[in-house]
Every structure is written in structure tokens, then in C-alpha cells.
Amino acid sequence: MGANTDVIVVGRGPAGLLMATLVVQHSGTVTIVADGQGTLPLWGGQWDFRNYADDGRPLVDPYQWWGDLLGGELAWRTRWSRVATLWHELGVLESPDIPNRNRWILSPLGHLRPTYLAPRWQWCQDQPGQFILIGFPGLADFSVQAMARVYEATSGVGVQAVHLPTPPGWRPHWTAINWAWYLDSRAGQEWLIGEVDRIIDASPTPLAFPQVLGVDGVEALRERLMQHLGRVVGEVALPPPSVGGLRITRRWERWLKHRGVQFVTGHVTGVTRDSAKLANGRQLSGSPVLASGGILGGGLYAEPAGNIRDPILGTIVGSLPQDRIGSVGHRQVRSTVPVIGRMVGGWDPDRHGDGGALTLWTVDEAFDAIWTGLGTTEAAPGVVRSQSLRVK
């Protein structure tokens, strides 16, 4: 037998980290076991609620769309304030009041798309308006001229595009991550502020940067830019590896480690209600929660003949091509052991833009299932024992 914690979270994507967060916030102990990095650095850091209606049109009011589903408005507000509070603790600032409506963010193609909760660094609009796109040399994911053309064609508002020159030491292979590390350095920050000051006009028009304004130092750099240039500065999230998700992952995992969460690298081959078995023979004891992901996350395996298998539970949850690859997953949270994440419930998070909400909801459900075993929603340190945390 190995580590003994109240809960074993399998997987370290957003669902896994959120589950661990909830448990430690209720004074439980957690082991997170995963065989790779989580999926959070694939995305820009925004947290979707419900972006599109069933017919594909963008949604303004996600609360209205959800109505009484999955607990209704009160439950959703509680869930969202949990994320907002956590982000505050992580230093990922969001306004203390959670938003009532979706806002618009820009895609690297120049399309506007809705999202719900976004970090302060994210370039957001309530409605289409003027801004200046700042192009970075060699950043193929952020072609400012093309974005400006698409934005103008789809929103009717013309925007400017300007280009930065190359800084000393730049190489053509630099990706967003290289830029972000460079802009964490003092030299990079001085260079950026100097150059941006030089190439833009004196208007108060907001600036839209690619999401490269530093990894750990983004808030400080953004603040300096806004002070110096006297205008709003925001970032557009880019395709993976995405700096926004990377920032949150680093802070969040550090936060969890400071609260005693153990991170184990390993491949889970099987679970019971009170243990998890690893490929290297190690056994962990505690109540497992599967946050191992769908096909993308690696928690589900698509077999050549088309069956979609959960290798840990040994169940088949769907089949291709009958199921859509973006929506196939477990149908319910309360399985042999709880299963959490955006792919649970048979929703279609890619198309509907509700992956964040599904993560929140499934984590809630799984936490409930575990906490019901305790017989209370109040937990004092030392009171929670692994025995009482098991799923009924």
C-alpha cells in the first residue's frame, strides 16, 4: 500500500484540479495521480458557461439558457463564485462580481466569440468596437492584418493593425511560449514598452495583443503598459500550447501543493471504491474520482473497430462514428466511482461552448457523492477521515 489520503483524483486537467481544490477547502486530503500534464495549457484560460444556443447562434444570457437545469441560477452562481474566489487567491484577477452575461472575445482568425468568465488579461468586449491589433514577428497564429479584415467583414467595425519589429536575440522559430518567457524578463518588458510607445498613436484606443505578455509576470507587465500608454490592454488567446492556460496551471498546482496535495506521476490501471492501482504495481488508498478526461484528455481510448473504452473502469461508453468525437463520454457522474469533467453527460461541449460549466457541475456532483458519505456539509480539520469519505 502507498499513500493514504481521503481522495484520489485521477487526472490533472481542470476538473481534477477543481475537485482537489474543493476537498482541501473542506479540510480533506488529496492525492492527484496523472501520467502526463493536464489539458489546461491547451486553452487560453477563459471559463465557458454556455456560448451557443442549440441552433448555433451565440448566446448573450447563459443563465436564461440554463434555466432550472442542473440546479438553476442559484447553484450556478455558487459554482461560479467558487471559481472567481479561487482565481483571486491564485492572483488571476477577475472582478469580484461574477458577470451576468457573456462577453465577446476575439479568436486568432478574427472572429468574435462569446465566453463567460475570463481572466483580467483577456481582451474582452461587451460589443464590437475600435481597437489596435499588435502583431509580433514570426507569430503565425496572430496575423493581425488578416484578423483585422475578418473582424471588419463580420462586425462592420474597422480596426487597425500594427507590427512590432524583432527584438535583440529573436529567432524565427519563436512561438508564443518563447515570447512569453522573454517578456517575463526585464529586458523584454523594456523593449516592448519602448516599441509599442513608438508605433502607436496618442489616442486612447485599446490594444489587443496576442497572449504572450509574460507567463508569471503578466499582471505586472499589463499594468505597466496600461499606465504608460493610458489605455486598456488585453490579450487574445492563441492555439496550444497556450500561455493563458499555462499561467493558471502553474499557479493552481503550486497553490494545491502548498495545501498538502500530493502529485503522483503514474498510470492508473484500475480503481475500487477505496483504492487505485498503478501500472508500476503501487496501490493508493482513498476514494478515487476519475478526472481522466475524454478521448482528448486520454481517459477514453478509441479502438480501431470504433468502440470507446474507459481502460480504468473497463467499460465501453460509446462508439465511432455513431457518436461525435467531440461529445462521447460517460453518461453520468455517479458511476462505480465518480467521473468528472466536460465530457460527462453526453453534452456537446465543443459545439455548445459549455465545457467549463459541465466541469463545474460534475465536480459539484462528485463532491456531493463523496461528502454524502460523511453525513455533513461542515467539515473541521481532523474530523474528516478517509473511511467516512467513501462513496455509498
Binding site: 448555433g56 466569440r113 503565425a140 475578418v150 463580420t154 465511432l320
Partner: protein, 491 residues
């Protein structure tokens, strides 16, 4: 002037042969060069070893052409060790007739110690019994098509893409010209002869020549694996069958093929069932192949043709000859000066072209011998080391390279291998769209982008398993979320 219908290997081969004999020519291709069967094969330059028992004529053609192409198209041929491996009783039974056939066809064959082969190819079936080295090689189809096209245009030939011959004109029963429709506009090309080299589509052209032919089309599926797991060409020794050949191609390896009767010149919709079947057949050579990372499937339509229609239906398709036929429609009661080249293989395209142009010369009554066998295809310009920002990371394609190609995204794909790597466009297609916008505008660039996205999915979908399924799940999430690529409508 001779008009050639079809811009695949045989059509371009005919045009090149004509030009070398001093005959002006125009190629009319309905899509892009290599958009048909020539762009959809396993990449094998045959030695003929596959055909020595069932089709000795083709085998002899193959070995002769193999030697010629290595000289005239060296840039498109990659010499890699090639083996026939016996893995079961089928192989052992086939051995003796096969070796006899190899001797008769004059194809060099040498037995290789099994230990040596297995240490070179760790993935090979450990139950393998015997292995023989043969002179197969890798033929890079798109490279050879580019060489042909470049040399044709340098010699004053014309290649019209996205164009169709809609009518053949005649004077006194002899071809006098054709009407060509290009992107909505029609024009008349005056000519003395027409060569139908439309591959699987040849049967649909022939009625314009006042003739009818019966095609025997068959579709073959191939699977592309994301890594060059095996650096050698490996054939399973036995009668030609399904899933019995693996060809390393660039950074990938291609498993071929199936052989299914097919009614249309257009490739069939790819089925997962067929991909799985192919994989199972591939297991006989490579028992772990199901765990290799599949990248995509594709399918080509073989333009087979049986001169004896009674025989065709009753014989197994593999036995239908891979030999080719030149039809002189004038001799068959149709229009004089109209010819069809049908059947054959990529490897024998040059010979097919030579025989076709021989017939055309007889019709034109001006005999000049073919020079294609002794005239190397020259590289237009050697491309220097790629510099500039990288657009497609899988294949290392840079912005400069794409600008230099001066074509649409599909041209980038076939020429620079853009979006052909493990991510199948997940990370690079939107970058390409941004580049194209400045040239063709927002709408056209987005259409090109979404069309290529769909084209990639068609090949990935039937092999969406394991890591490949994971990659595609990433693509789906990315295109809906990060890129919001369908914009606000059309989701």
C-alpha cells in the same frame, strides 16, 4: 497540336513524350495535377516482383521502367532496401513459382539471412521464415508529377487545370479540334489528335470519340502511419493480396491495399470497417501494427480494363492484368485521331506514354522515335534552405516556402507537404488561411480553409483510433473553441 485529357502520370507522360518528339501539346486536367489516381497510391516503384507469377508481362515492363526512372527521375526516386518476406504456409507454397517467375522476368533477387532482416526491422513478424531482397524503390508521386509539369511548360507545352474537354470536333471523321471549358469560359483548341489519359474517368470520355469501352474500376484503400516505423519496403510473399505491402514514404509509412470493385471514377467514401480489415491483414507482416499511430486513410481508383469482357467478371480482380492498352478509336470505328490509354501502373507511366505517342505518330504520319527513356527530367530550380517563420511545424514548412509556391492551400499540400503531418492541419490550417487572405480575400480564403479541413477529416475519420482519435478530438475542440472558425453562423 495534340490535346491530352488528364493531368495524371500517364497524361503528363504523354505530353512530355509528344514535346520531346517535337509535337506541340496541351494538357486538359479537370482538377489539379495529380488530383486523381496518380496522387493516391502507395508510393512504390515496382520492380515487378509482385507480378511475376500472375502477370509476367507487367513484371517485365516494371523492371525495365524501374531502371529507366531511377536515371531520368532520380529526384523522385528514393532507393530503400526492399524485401519479400514469407510469414506463413501461403508464402512457402508461393516461393517456388515466384522464384521461377523472377528468373524468367530477369528481376534480381537475393535471399537475405532472416536475422539480418529482423534486426533491421524490429517490428517484423518474428515467425517470418525467409526473406528476399528485390529492387523495389520508393516513388514520390507528387515530386515526379511536378518534374513532368515543370519540364512540359519549359518546353512550351501547356497544362490547363480545372478545365474539361466538353466536345470533340471532327472533319470527315478525323479529329479537328476540341472545346475546352475552363472555369465557366469555353474555348476551341484546334488539334490533330486527342489522347484520353483520364485514368478511371477514361470510360466517360470515350463516347465523345464515337466509341464505347467497359472499364473495370477497383478501389484500393491505403493507411498512412504517422511515423516511419519501418525504413524498408516490405512485401508479404504470396499471391498479391490485401494489406501485404508497407512502403516508407517521407516521415510516414503506408500500408496498402485493398481491392474492391467500384462503380465510379471518384474515390469511394472511406469506411472504418475497411480500414480495420486492412489493419488485420497488415498484422500478418507486422503483428503490432494496430498499436502504431495511424494518421489517415486514402483511397485510389485503379483504372483497370479487360480487353476480354467475358473473362473480366469471372476472374478475381487481382488477376486482371496490370498491363495497359492503347486504343486507337479510328481503328475501332470511331473518330480517327482519337486515342485512349488505359490500365497500367504508375511505374510504367513512361512506357504507356511512349506506346501511346507511337500510335499518335502513326496517325500523324510523321515517325520520330521516343526520347523519354534517355532524357532526364531536370529540376527547374533548386530550393535553398527554408528560412522564415514556420507555418506547418509537423513538416517544417516555412512562410517563405509557401509564398514561393504561389498557389492555393492544396498546392501547398502536394508540393510542400503542408498540413500532411501528424496534426493533419490542427495547428497550421488557420495560419494558412491568414496567408491566403491577403491574396484571394476573406471569403475565398475561408472557403479554401474549411474545404481543406473537411478533406483532412475524410481521411482521418476512418482511422480515428488511439492517438489519432486524440489528435482529432483536439482539432475539434480547437476549431470550435479557440478558433471559432465557422464564425457566428454555420455551426
Amino acid at each position: 497540336m495534340v490535346v491530352v485529357i488528364g493531368g495524371g502520370a500517364s497524361g503528363l507522360g504523354v505530353a512530355w513524350d509528344l514535346l520531346l518528339r517535337g509535337i506541340p501539346t496541351t494538357v486538359v486536367e479537370q482538377g489539379d495535377v495529380g488530383g486523381g489516381t496518380s496522387g493516391r497510391f502507395h508510393g512504390l516503384l515496382h520492380s515487378g516482383a509482385r507480378y511475376v507469377v500472375v502477370d509476367p508481362v507487367s513484371a517485365r515492363h516494371c523492371i525495365a521502367e524501374n531502371a529507366i526512372l531511377r536515371v531520368i527521375a532520380a529526384a523522385a526516386i528514393k532507393a530503400v532496401p526492399s524485401y519479400f518476406v514469407s510469414v506463413d504456409d501461403d508464402g512457402d507454397r508461393y516461393l517456388s513459382p515466384w522464384l521461377d517467375g523472377m528468373n524468367a522476368a530477369g528481376i534480381g533477387v537475393r535471399e537475405v539471412p532472416l536475422g539480418q532482416v529482423i534486426s533491421a526491422i524490429p517490428d517484423l513478424n518474428r515467425q517470418a521464415r525467409r526473406a528476399f531482397s528485390v529492387p523495389d524503390a520508393v516513388l514520390e508521386g507528387f515530386t515526379l508529377l511536378r518534374l513532368l509539369r515543370d519540364n512540359i511548360t519549359q518546353r512550351g507545352g501547356t497544362v490547363l487545370t480545372h478545365s474539361q474537354v466538353t466536345q470533340v470536333h471532327q472533319v470527315g471523321g478525323v479529329v479537328s479540334g476540341v472545346t475546352v471549358s475552363s472555369r465557366g469560359a469555353e474555348r476551341l483548341i484546334v488539334c490533330d489528335a486527342v489522347v484520353n489519359a483520364a485514368g478511371p474517368g477514361a470510360g466517360q470520355i470515350v463516347p465523345m470519340f464515337g466509341d464505347q469501352i467497359e472499364m473495370q474500376l477497383s478501389a484500393g484503400m491505403m493507411l498512412v502511419f504517422a511515423n516511419r516505423r519501418v525504413g524498408h519496403i516490405v512485401n508479404r510473399l504470396g499471391p498479391p493480396g490485401d494489406g501485404d505491402i508497407l512502403v516508407p514514404h517521407g516521415r510516414t509509412a503506408i500500408l496498402g491495399t485493398t481491392d474492391i470493385p467500384h462503380g465510379s471514377p471518384q474515390p469511394p467514401v472511406l469506411q472504418r470497417q475497411e480500414a480495420v480489415y486492412l489493419l488485420e491483414q497488415g498484422e500478418r507482416l507486422f503483428p503490432g501494427i494496430a498499436s502504431w499511430r495511424a494518421l489517415r486513410a486514402f483511397s485510389g481508383v485503379r483504372p483497370l480494363f479487360s480487353t476480354d469482357s467475358n473473362e473480366g467478371a469471372s476472374v478475381r480482380r487481382r488477376i486482371v492484368t496490370r498491363d495497359f492498352t492503347v486504343l486507337d478509336h479510328g481503328m475501332r470505328g470511331g473518330v480517327k485521331g482519337a486515342f485512349t490509354i488505359i490500365g497500367g501502373k504508375w511505374t510504367t507511366y513512361r512506357l504507356m506514354a511512349e506506346r501511346t505517342v507511337d500510335a499518335v505518330c502513326r496517325h500523324l504520319d510523321s515517325w520520330v522515335p521516343s526520347r523519354t527513356a534517355v532524357t532526364p527530367l531536370t529540376e527547374a530550380s533548386s530550393q535553398g534552405d527554408p528560412v522564415g517563420a514556420i507555418v506547418c511545424e509537423c513538416e517544417g514548412v516555412t512562410l517563405d516556402t509557401l509564398h514561393a509556391l504561389n498557389g492555393d492551400m492544396d498546392t501547398w499540400r502536394t508540393r510542400a507537404w503542408f498540413a500532411m503531418g501528424p496534426c493533419q492541419g490542427a495547428i497550421c490550417l488557420h495560419r494558412g488561411a491568414a496567408i491566403r487572405q491577403s491574396i484571394v480575400g476573406v471569403q475565398a480564403a475561408m472557403q479554401e480553409f474549411l474545404a481543406l479541413r473537411r478533406e483532412r477529416w475524410r481521411g482521418v475519420e476512418p482511422v480515428a483510433w488511439g492517438d489519432n482519435a486524440r489528435e482529432w478530438a483536439l482539432t475539434e475542440a480547437l476549431r470550435h473553441q479557440t478558433l471559432a472558425e465557422e464564425g457566428m453562423n454555420g455551426r
